[in-house]
Amino acid sequence: MNTTAVDKKVRSRRSLSRNDRFTLSAFVGFPTFVQLIFLWIPALATILLSFTYWNGIRISDIKWAGFANYKNIFLNDTLFYEALKNNLIWLLWFSFLATPLGILLAYQIDRKIKGHKIYESIYYIPVVLSLAVIGIIWNFMFQPGGFIQGLMGRDIGNAVSIWGNYKINTYVIMAVASWRHIGYIMLLYLSGLKSVDPSLKEASAIDGATEWQTFRKVILPAMKPVNIIIVVITLIESLRAFDLVFIIYGSSTSWPLLNILVYQNFAGQGISMKGAALAVILLVLCIGPIIGYLRTVFKEDS
């Protein structure tokens, strides 16, 4: 930092009156206090607690456990691996099916095909619904007396279980989750596409590029920041999945996810801090996408 800049800074700070300095500190201090108390300190506490045994009642009961909770998870917990597998399936499904479909839809709707306005609205509706409502709405499709049961010719009396059928339930859950995710991706991508200079597309069309070439060589590179955000959102959403499956199955272990395991290890069995260790594992998995996001959005600042 050169001297004039320092000089300038000092002067600008000196020009503030005492009152102003108080206001400034309050403006920074109060929100920061809230962030620390409700986010960062609890996050740190969870990381520490993950190395302990504690029933959560008296602070003096906390006993150091070293890596016991982690060992327990990695060595003895089959549910953990099942959850990891399900999160991975979620991730792969979103990455290779749902997200590309959302992008494709955005691309087509951006070309202003017939009826694009109505289609756009329809695809956006699930995005604003809570996952709790989504779970219930899809229950009306799959549960006894639901639409799909009706299609299969089954009434309430002789319905078959779809959520409980382990051969297909993964696909059904993924389809329902995609219902929201595709619209979300489409929304983000569409607004990105609108900011791409139309003359770019025209130029490549005149040069005789096919649509696929135009998309790959012209649009995709122009959309780089949006692309990164979409990758991050896909990763984070897959790792964070909770509400939908929880609504469908309750806290049972029919289709475990990391988040559900963390919740259960706290709500169910309070004796160990295994839940905290699971939460830390989840954090470790999330850190890559979080850093990717921060780097993208802060690139212009630094």
């Binding site: 962030q35 986010l39 709707i109 095909i113 695809y123 604003v128 619904l129 219930i136 007396g145 989840l282």
Partner: protein, 294 residues
């Protein structure tokens, strides 16, 4: 001449292709909205009809009885009000705190501006399960300290605070990137005119950031209204539950009358869907302000 013919040909084939794509996407759109239509349809029929005549039977009666019943038996209105008591203050406080930090970070270049912004933005990305165990015990502990266990736990205040903490980061980030587009001269002339920091914020900057505030307001209302996790963790008393977690309980309780449940689900979903269609521009710009930097 021939190029025009060729051009025409190309355009025709493109037209056919577009018609095909449009039909396909239209069909897809129908599949998309079908579950919602089906839920509405279900909500208009009495359960007894479905039981006695089957899922696809032609309805003997179609009416809004399930909706009235939802208000009466499910106390939907109570849950809905709970959601409002949490959502509205949480959104307002979040926007207020976010705008404060954004204001400082973008208008006063301190050494810690960037790290501060980074900490706030990163906080928004932390997984909720990473913080909920200590937050839960802290709520209980603070409750015992003030002599009322339901001071934060089982109370609107606790939910409001945790939502504020989680959402402030996003609001800060969006608002600060918007504020950076406001010309420096506006701030400089305010300072030259002797405006205090507070006046600078309240009279000069705040009126200028109304568009992103509106966008964030719509977006966060939707997010907080739709929250499920925190309501599940921090509220156990049924009369204090917001609508999403209330709905979960109803989902368990009314399995035997899912036409009634359908009405409840539609009622719970209605506010965000209506909000979205009325303020769609704000909603979309709120999402994209954060993800693409305007």
């Amino acid at each position: 001449m021939s190029t025009i013919v060729q051009d025409q040909k190309y355009r025709n084939s493109q037209k056919r292709k577009d018609a095909f794509i449009s039909t396909f996407i239209g069909f897809f759109a129908f599949v998309w909205i079908f579950p919602i239509l089906w839920t509405i349809w279900t909500s208009l029929r009495p359960y007894s009809d479905v039981v006695s005549y089957g899922v696809f039977s032609w309805p003997k009666r179609l009416n809004f009885d399930n909706y009235f019943a939802a208000f009466k038996q499910m106390h939907i209105l109570g849950y809905f009000l709970n959601s409002l008591y949490v959502t509205i203050p949480a959104v307002i406080i979040t926007l207020f705190l976010g705008s404060l930090i954004a204001f400082i970070v973008s208008r006063y270049k301190f050494k810690f501006s960037l790290p501060l912004l980074l900490v706030f933005t990163a906080g928004n990305m932390l997984p909720a399960v990473l913080v909920y165990i200590p937050v839960f015990w802290m709520y209980i502990w603070v409750g015992d300290l003030v002599g009322n266990r339901n001071f934060l736990y089982n109370n609107y205040l606790g939910l409001i605070l945790i939502h504020v903490a989680f959402q402030t980061g996003f609001a800060t980030f969006v608002l600060s990137s918007y504020m950076k587009t406001i010309p420096k001269e506006i701030s400089e002339s305010a300072i030259v005119d002797g405006a205090s920091v507070f006046t600078h914020y309240w009279r000069v900057i705040l009126p200028l950031i109304r568009p992103p505030l509106a966008a964030l307001g719509v977006l966060m209302t939707t997010w907080i209204y739709n929250d499920f996790f925190w309501a599940l963790i921090l509220v156990s008393q049924d009369s204090k539950r917001p609508i999403t977690s209330g709905l979960r309980r109803l989902n368990g309780e009314f399995v035997t009358d899912f036409n009634l449940l359908a009405a409840g689900a539609i009622l719970a979903a209605a506010p965000t869907v209506i909000l979205f269609f009325v303020l769609r521009k704000q909603f979309i710009s709120g999402l994209t302000l954060g993800s693409t930097k305007g």
